[in-house]
Point group: C2
């Protein structure tokens, strides 16, 4: 299917900002398949992360309401967090669900792995859906933010999504993919 479409060749990669372990910015000089040379192409490296659309035993979505410094406002987010060194994405998803909300779930579905920046790279996001989550311990995220856990029924989820309460691309993506996956299975 990819016949005739060739990758670019990186002629030079120069690190211009070292914010390890959370940020590295490099400048690439690349050669296109037709031989053209392009300078000054930004590549960014941040952490890989997971996002989880988790439904509880009463079929309500578990969300967090909190201030986020990306959108610079209080908004709804899903369970999410960075994958630790050597950690499997699914293990990170289960850990974040437990840490942030105190819930565990018996039923997990992978919704894919995607790159954040079409050109700059930035990192990979791994999306999951969990069903049947139930409270097993107090929530204790250790995050910088104070947050409020809420449980939203189906109608409220659709409303929040339509009204832009989920401020981030990754949350909207995970939620929409999770809802689609449910539609396809003819259930949740």
């Amino acid at each position: 299917m990819t016949k005739g479409l060739k990758p670019w060749r990186v002629l030079e990669s120069k690190e211009v900002l070292d914010g390890r372990p959370r940020l590295i910015v490099a400048n690439h000089t690349v050669e296109l398949p037709d031989g053209r040379r392009v300078e000054d192409f930004w590549k960014i490296q941040m952490f890989d992360y997971v996002v989880v659309a988790a439904w509880d035993e009463a079929d309500r979505l578990i969300v967090e309401r909190q201030y986020k410094h990306g959108p610079e406002r209080v908004c709804l987010t899903l369970v999410a967090g960075a994958i630790e060194a050597g950690e499997e994405p699914l293990a990170a998803a289960k850990r974040e669900l437990l840490e942030e909300t105190g819930h565990q779930a018996p039923d997990w579905t992978g919704l894919g792995r995607y790159v954040v920046g079409a050109n700059a790279g930035i990192g990979h996001a791994h999306f999951f859906k969990a069903r049947g989550a139930r409270l097993v311990q107090p929530a204790n995220s250790g995050d910088l933010e104070e947050m409020r856990i809420e449980h939203l029924d189906r109608a409220r989820v659709r409303q929040a999504l339509a009204e832009g309460e989920f401020a981030m691309v990754s949350c909207a993506a995970t939620l929409a993919l999770a809802l689609l996956e449910g539609d396809r299975r003819g259930g949740d």
Copy 2:
């Protein structure tokens, strides 16, 4: 709904990388609502962009197969591009559809505006769905990439999405939101 949840206060913002007009990296020192001070918080500024899930008159999704330097592989993408200075997001979406694929569409639906980075910001993505697109002129994207335009029927779209052919978060988000929106309207 947001009672008791307060925004962070930026005490200091220091620009550490000037890649204008395409990239600015700053370092924030912020104060949390509980008074804690956090240094070394990365904020990134890139361009805002649009992504379009465009269906043609035969109800096939218009996609582009091309090498992207974010995922560093040949993959499927939707129509997408940066919003120009002073341009409305919908105008940018119509311009990109015409430039990249030579199509125009009579029927547009906004699927929301989302921030790319939960913490770093990075930029805003505006998602759209277009229906009834038809070819009015030759495609001429002027992009760096060589690309191949393909038209996928519904079954093929679901398969491509499930198999990770859409490599980018923004494409997966736009497509899933567009498919959900169609489900809700009881059609496409």
